[in-house]
């Protein structure tokens, strides 16, 4: 069936996710409250400049928010027994996954937009650059794909996936130069290369502070590479677990 038709049907899935999952408890807790508290705990009582804090907030905010809906959708649909109805409709599995990714991406971009606003209007930080805007969109897709990949195991228990998701998220946050710049990580910085968040935080630091570890082109290419990897891995994972969901 026509690729464009399938893309359109992806957007139907996006719309459904936005209606059904946005106000679910786990999404609010892990998508908005948790990163806010984490950031406050990190920033309060320390003498950090705004230009250091804003990239932290951007990186963590986008990463945590975007990867909060994706992991919830599949187990929730399995538990509510709506998934079989969905896969029996004339929509390809990749299009369902893409629809879920776009829903998470929009949620993340919406929250990140407010972080941009707070940074620019209230705090007067100059953070707009074209590479950051492009990077934010690619990173949102990348982190959202990671969320979908995490939800591939065939459980019908959202909290099991949330636990796995939090484990991955915290690990990535601490190894990606969010709180400690990569240049200050010594020999441990090699580990940061395997995290896509590293490249987004680096891009944010470049756009706000003017300091960077990798060049913006490398950051963008790395984010793009991780996006493709996670997207296809998510499709493969869900394909494999599909028959076990019923």
């Amino acid at each position: 069936m026509n690729f464009i038709i399938q893309l359109r049907r992806s957007l139907v899935i996006t719309k459904k996710d936005l209606f059904v999952f946005y106000l679910k408890g786990p999404v609010i807790i892990s998508g908005i409250l948790m990163p806010s508290f984490l950031f406050i705990a990190f920033a309060i009582g320390r003498d950090f400049s705004l230009s250091f804090l804003i990239p932290c907030l951007l990186g963590m905010g986008l990463f945590v928010t975007v990867s909060s809906i994706g992991p919830v959708v599949a187990p929730w649909e399995t538990r509510m027994k709506t998934f079989e109805r969905l896969v029996s409709a004339p929509i390809a599995l990749w299009a369902i996954i893409l629809g879920d990714i776009i829903a998470s991406l929009l949620f993340g971009l919406f929250v990140t937009f407010f972080i941009f606003l707070v940074g620019i209007i209230l705090l007067g930080v100059k953070i707009v650059s074209l590479s950051l805007i492009i990077g934010t969109i690619i990173a949102a897709f990348c982190f959202s794909s990671l969320g979908l990949l995490i939800s591939a195991p065939h459980t019908d228990n959202p909290s099991s996936i949330m636990m796995l998701s939090n484990l991955v998220k915290f690990t990535f946050i601490f190894i990606s130069g969010v709180f400690v710049p990569i240049s200050s990580m010594g020999k441990w910085k090699v580990i940061s290369y395997i995290s896509p968040l590293t490249y987004y935080t680096d891009l944010a630091r470049y756009s706000v502070e003017g300091t960077n570890y990798f060049s913006p082109v490398v950051d963008l290419l790395a984010l793009l590479g991780f996006s493709i990897l996670f997207f296809f891995a998510a499709i493969g994972g869900h394909k494999k677990s599909l028959t076990k969901r019923f």
């Binding site: 069936m1 038709i5 399938q6 359109r8 049907r9 139907v12 719309k15 459904k16 209606f19 059904v20 509510m80 027994k81 709506t82 079989e84 109805r85 969905l86 896969v87 029996s88 409709a89 004339p90 929509i91 390809a92 599909l242 028959t243 019923f246």
Partner: protein, 305 residues
Amino acid sequence: MYSIKAEYLTKKFNGFTAVDRISFKVKSGELFGLLGPNGAGKTTTIRMLTGIFRPTSGTAFIGEYDIQKNPLEAKQIMGIVPEMANAYVDLSAMRNLLLMGELYGIRKKVRIGKAGNLLKLFGLYEKRNQKVKTFSKGMQQRLIVAMGLMNDPKLLFLDEPTAGLDVESVRLIRELIREFNSKGITIILTTHNIEEANQLCDKVAIMNHGKIVAIDRPEKLKNTFKSTASVEVAFDREVEAEELLFGNVVTEVKKVGDKIRLYSARAEEVIPMLVEYSHSSGRKIISLNTLAPNLEDVFVKLTKE
């Protein structure tokens, strides 16, 4: 013209064969029943035919489309009411129907009109804007059947559509199944309810242990099993079952409430024997009926073998 052509369909899960080389055809406009005990492989068969499970081997055509090669095209012409499926309980009935319409690519104006008509037909129009979580089980199931009809399917799969429902919903759904079938929609009905299959289906396939053990029109199947014809008799006093075997004429004697059912392929010979027994034993016959084999008898016989 066939709506379904399945050839040697097989599905294995980790070495366990859930469906074992089944072949059958369903003519367009037919109401086809799939019967079988739990674990017989009915739902797995439906899931292969609807493109949810990929067969381990074998082929299935939905109309002109091979379900493995053109699953999306095949799904576009079918409506599906999966077993145990739910609507989105956080959405309204109307929004659930519109969501299905969008997934089938139906234009906005058409899908709004269609959703409204289906809600009226299934008696849900007054509650169209209420969240589905406030609906009773019967109302939810009516909505789920309606969701399967949003795309005007040529072929409709109904997997246990009346299981566990109240009488009113069961009657409504059965009436609508007949009505949609009379309009030319081919219907595949999976059910545990043998009487439901007997009343609704043009043809039934009985499955057991992943295989089709019989496939025919319900009346023909009943005739195949003449030995399950029976005579039901009630006496004014208790009777020892062995006394009514009449040599080899009666194959089985069963107590059914205060009556006794005698199974025999020669039911017409049993009646004079019973009258004779009544005279000789001094017992009065209170009631005497001959019963043709029913589909349940056929089902039990086939699935026991």
